[in-house]
């Protein structure tokens, strides 16, 4: 089967560079999948789970906001942060989750819109990390 080159780039490093069968990404307008020879596309990405399949192997990543570009049978994700499931520090994500929940309460109490939005984004990032990390401990059957 034809494959597509997947690259996930963050400001710190090249996280993934691999020929894959299928990429599923959390688009702003909903989750979408990209197969080989996809038409040129630019799509915005929100905080969420990104997964890709190579043969029978499925890999999971937690990504935060960014966008992706498809052209010439190559898909490039530009995200401010991206971590493979096995790289995720569960302890830290749990702490971040609690902190974010506390902040949301505080922001609600003071009716601070900006703080609330920021705390909600932080909570979302933490939740996504936790969910993605689950896949390592309990690998899903595809």
């Amino acid at each position: 089967m034809a494959r597509i080159l997947l690259e996930i780039v963050t400001p710190d490093r090249l996280v993934v560079s691999e020929e894959v069968d299928l990429v599923t990404a959390p688009g702003v307008a909903g989750e979408f999948g990209v197969l080989a020879n996809h038409a040129p596309m630019v799509a915005a990405i929100k905080i969420g789970e990104l997964r890709y399949r190579v043969g029978d192997r499925v890999e999971y990543l937690a990504v935060s906001g960014g966008f992706c570009e498809v052209s010439n049978n190559k898909i490039t994700f530009l995200c401010e942060a991206a971590e493979r499931a096995e790289e995720i520090d569960v302890e830290r994500a749990l702490r971040a989750k609690e902190r974010a929940e506390r902040r949301i309460q505080e922001a609600l109490a003071k009716a601070e819109k900006i703080d609330l939005a920021r705390a909600q984004a932080a909570l979302q990032r933490a939740l996504v990390r936790l969910r993605v990390a689950e896949h390592v401990r309990r690998p899903a059957a595809r």
Binding site: V42, A44, E69
Partner: protein
């Protein structure tokens, strides 16, 4: 006549300073390699980002004037400068050069009758401007390891002020890394974002792209990407400054080390001369004494 023991003590002291500067030189060299490595890793991200933004603007898919972050204000009354300096000194004129550039820029803007406010990134700039009442925000102790979330915080504050109408233009001043022996302060306009049309880039872009599918609609997509682009610009400025700082420190410490060597040499010369002089003097005393005994 200088005291022999004093000179000796001075030589020892200078030698010790030489050891310190040498160590600092080597530390800076190691850190420079690390920082350069990070710039290398950041480059693909930055390049791709620019490409996509150029593509979106160049293809006419979006109308730039409808975005708050790109809209030029008809009248510019307030200007903000994000001044990126190092947290630490002992790197030659590096921080002073950045501050001088900033000072000059402030004078120019004030001559045009504009108000100036400042966001300081890095301790040295903040320390200098502490006595003036123009610093709006300052971020310190974040330059030893440049992190995206710090850059994001700076960018977020700058964008907030811009969108709320507190400032009409925002500039970035940072240490641009030319090479290991040359770093120059650079001033760039950050907001409103202007996408300068580089012919070369667009030519190649057109060939591979054709027409893109945009998801969501180009306008909405652009709205999402623009703030990320500002983050990237601030991050890039911080990375450049961090690399330049280490390079400047390396050179400064190398010079200091050489100066130490020169000083040890001239002090040793003085030491030997003094020693010689005192021996001659003693000899003369002895000869004089012997002469006196013989006569008497």
């Amino acid at each position: 006549m200088p005291n022999l023991r004093d000179i000796k003590r001075k030589i020892e002291a200078v030698k010790k300073i030489g050891q310190i500067t040498k160590a600092m030189n080597m530390v800076a060299a190691a850190k420079l390699r690390g920082a350069q490595d990070r710039v290398e890793k950041f480059r693909p991200y930055a390049t791709k980002f620019k490409e996509v933004i150029h593509e979106l603007v160049g293809s006419g898919a979006v109308n730039t004037s409808q975005f708050e972050l790109m809209r030029e204000r008809p009248e510019v009354k307030k200007v903000e400068i994000i001044l990126i300096t190092a947290d630490r000194g002992l790197c030659g004129a590096f921080n002073a050069n950045l501050i001088n550039t900033c000072e000059r820029f402030i004078r120019e803007q004030r001559a045009k009758g504009r108000d100036v406010s400042l966001i300081c990134v890095g301790k040295k700039g903040a320390q200098y401007y502490r006595k003036f009442d123009i610093v709006r925000e300052s971020y310190e102790e974040i330059m030893s390891r440049v992190e995206m979330f710090n850059a994001r915080a700076v960018a977020r504050e700058a964008m907030r002020a811009f969108i709320d109408g507190e400032v009409d233009e925002t500039y970035l001043i940072y240490g641009y890394f030319v090479n290991v022996v040359r770093q120059v302060p650079k001033t760039e306009k950050l907001l409103p974002i202007s996408v300068e049309k580089e012919e070369g880039v667009e030519e190649t872009e057109k060939k591979i792209s054709g027409s893109y599918i945009y998801e969501p609609e180009p306008e909405e997509l652009f709205e999402q990407i623009l703030p990320l682009y500002v983050n990237t610009r601030v991050f890039a400025g911080m990375l450049e400054t961090a690399v330049s700082e280490q390079a400047a420190r390396m050179t400064a410490m190398d010079n200091a080390n050489r100066a130490c060597g020169d000083m040890v040499q001239s002090l040793t010369l003085l030491f030997n001369k003094t020693r010689q002089a005192s021996i001659t003097k003693e000899l003369m005393d002895i000869v004089g004494g012997a002469e006196a005994l013989r006569k008497g």
